[in-house]
């Protein structure tokens, strides 16, 4: 069982400021159902730029709810310049600390706040997004770099605790290490290139991987996948059955198939769907 402080328990069991603000000036949403937690933050600002009300809606564990509640309490009465300076550490401290594995809940609070402020200032569009490093949780290099810097993180495990990156399949661990090293000013030795495969060997390995790793999962959902062609590093596939119809599955599926093929065959493969 997690060891939560009394303050975390209090903000979880009696969360402050739950709900929506219909005419909010700032709205920021982070997380998703798939990831297991999500926060939607609302605030209202008076004419002097002071936050007069803040509310939240959260799907997630006790510390996610407590962090959201804490954040709204902190925000009320602040002006935007002060609000902008709130760090994830401040949220955790307000609660008397969070278990290390739950620090990502405080980071979620900070991210939602940042988005809400951008929204208020009409800057949502021009933010630099970075490149996705962790596919499982959709975390970018910029987010990782920033959190490593701000919280003095040193290991991949730290990064997972704070932003979840690396907590799924683990394929991005090398990349995360590189980011940590670049922040801390260390060099990583370049990874060794894989020994080359002939085209025929590659196709055979792709076929085997589809059969062993991918088809069984699709068949459970009444779908199937067919290998159409391999063109260099491009793998052309066709989807059948329910998978072909489910629009939302496309992204998941492409990632899933691609990840598996990259894991078992070669890291540079890309998957394309043909109709």
């Amino acid at each position: 069982m997690w060891e939560y402080t009394d303050k975390v328990k209090d903000h979880f069991l009696n969360p402050r400021n739950v709900g929506k603000i219909d005419d909010a000036d700032g709205v920021g949403e982070v997380g998703s159902l798939a990831c297991g937690d999500a926060l939607r933050l609302y605030f209202k600002v008076d004419k002097d730029g002071k936050i007069i009300d803040a509310k939240f809606q959260t799907f997630g564990c006790a510390s996610a709810i407590a962090s959201s509640s804490a954040l709204t309490e902190m925000l009320k009465g602040m002006n935007l310049e002060e609000a902008q300076k709130i760090s994830n550490e401040d949220i955790a401290q307000f609660l008397g600390g969070l278990p290390k594995e739950k620090m990502h809940c405080s980071v979620m609070g900070r991210d939602a706040l940042e988005k809400a402020i951008d929204y208020y200032r009409g800057e949502s569009e021009k933010k630099q997004e970075g490149n996705i490093v962790c596919e499982c949780f959709g975390v970018t290099d910029l987010e990782i770099e920033r959190t490593v810097r701000e919280n003095n993180l040193r290991t991949i495990e730290d990064v997972t605790d704070y932003v979840k990156a690396g907590g799924g399949c683990g394929q991005c661990h090398d990349q995360i290490q590189e980011i940590i090293d670049s922040v801390t000013g260390k060099e990583t030795p370049k990874r060794k290139e894989k020994v080359g495969m002939t085209n025929l060997q590659k196709i055979k390995l792709i076929e085997e991987t589809l059969e062993r790793e991918i088809r069984p999962a699709l068949k459970q959902d009444g779908g199937d996948i067919e290998l159409i062609d391999v063109d260099g590093n491009q793998v052309l596939v066709k989807l059948r059955g329910t998978c072909a119809k489910c629009a939302a599955s496309q992204v998941t599926l492409k990632h899933y198939v691609e990840n598996k093929l990259q894991e078992f065959v070669a890291p540079e493969l890309v998957v394309e769907e043909v109709q």
Binding site: L33, F137, C243, Y256
Partner: protein
């Protein structure tokens, strides 16, 4: 003090008072080492023998086919390594996608260290894909390990159907029956597995004691090498008191099978039915027919499991969850994911596992107290109001 409603018996059980009573003399009175040639050793030795008879009796085995271990995990590891070591030429292992980590993590380790491992998938109801299973068997298959019943969904696998096929093909068959023993009649005379694991703390004996059944004439080599204990099959001075406790628990379990299958089953069924009726957007994970009589895993959509557990905890209700936040990992349980339970439901899945200690009043209490907890968390969730738009947005492929 608040009354605790304990419905987490698949995690561990209360030690039965009769078990404790049986154990006590072996701490401070008859505390000898059973190998010793004196009265205190002799007293312990006799009781150990009696425990072996009782544990064997619970599963229809011969006493000399029982090896006492330190836990279910050790039994599982011992079985797999023994099978691999006695079939050095064979490099293939077949198991399932929903095994307990005691098998799963070992199999994943072996897959990276010279073995080929097939993880047989399950369907949406948690049932094994039997065609896939049979097709995966080869002449290179050294061992098959399939759990008797799943700890999360409670789904029971067709061990009885698989056993003769493997016997004919000369493939060693191990079953992790940690969740089945004590809840179901498990009989190795009728169902010809070669090895079978069980664990004390799932059947009202203490934690830290288990047993491995090894059928006569099955090739075996020890996992813990050491002294001559357990006929050289498991080194280490026996955990005398706990083994004696396990023996007593085995005896009690045999007497209580009927009660588990009738009274406890009825409690579970009532709890499940009422919760599904009273809480919208909830459903059972797993096959409701072929299932342990004490277990139900219910998914409450759009809420997160840890939050539910902690709110239930405030009310004195103990259960467990398949959500990511409780497992210490960031992804929901591998069992629910293997079943293709969508994320909307996997994160909010709660497992209730009952025992003979549970009562009608306790079921009544949960039925009354849980629906408001779920509504409260749903009111807080940004997805609850938007659920129509989300229903199709999540694909179970993962």
């Amino acid at each position: 003090m608040m009354h605790i409603v304990y419905m987490d018996n698949n995690a561990t059980t209360k030690v039965d008072p009769q078990v404790v009573e049986e154990m006590i003399p072996y701490f401070m009175e008859s505390y000898g080492n059973p190998s010793s040639m004196h009265i205190l050793g002799g007293q312990a030795g006799i009781k150990l023998k009696e425990a072996r008879v009782n544990v064997a009796g619970l599963i229809g085995a011969q006493p000399e086919e029982i090896i006492f271990t330190s836990c279910g995990t050790e039994s599982d590891n011992t079985a797999i390594w023994a099978a691999l070591k006695s079939n050095p030429g064979k490099k293939h292992i077949v198991t399932t996608r929903v095994e307990h980590p005691a098998i799963k993590n070992l199999a994943e380790y072996l897959a990276k260290n010279g073995y080929r491992v097939t993880f047989v998938p399950v369907d949406r109801k948690g049932r094994l894909d039997m065609d896939f299973f049979y097709e995966s068997l080869t002449d290179d298959t050294a061992v098959v390990s399939v759990m008797w019943a799943n700890n999360e969904s409670g789904v029971i696998f067709p061990i009885e159907e698989i056993a003769p096929v493997l016997r004919d093909r000369g493939i060693v068959f191990h079953s992790d029956a940690v969740q089945a023993v004590g809840k179901l009649p498990v009989n190795v005379e009728k169902v010809e597995v070669d090895m079978l694991s069980l664990s004390g703390h799932k059947l009202h004996a203490p934690k830290g004691v288990g047993a491995l059944y090894v059928r006569k004439r099955t090739k075996f080599s020890p996992f813990l090498m050491g002294g001559h204990q357990e006929k050289g099959r498991r080194g280490g001075t026996e955990n005398v008191a706990s083994i004696i406790g396990l023996g007593k628990a085995a005896q009690l379990a045999l007497e209580r099978h009927e009660e588990v299958n009738t009274r406890v089953r009825a409690l579970r069924d009532r709890l499940e039915k009422e919760l599904l009726e009273r809480i919208p957007n909830s459903m059972v994970n797993g096959d409701q027919e072929m299932r342990l009589p004490n277990t139900t895993s219910i998914a409450f959509e759009y809420v997160e499991g840890e939050a539910i557990l902690l709110m239930m905890n405030e009310l004195g209700i103990c259960a467990s969850s398949g959500s990511a936040c409780t497992s210490g990992s960031l992804e929901p349980s591998h069992v629910l994911r293997a079943m293709g339970v969508p994320f909307t439901a996997a994160h909010g899945s709660i497992r209730f596992s009952l025992s003979t200690y549970n009562t009608d009043q306790e079921v009544e209490f949960i039925i009354k107290k849980l629906p408001p907890v779920i509504s409260r968390l749903r009111e807080m969730s940004p997805f609850w109001a938007d659920r129509e738009g989300l229903a199709n947005a999540v694909c179970s492929v993962q």
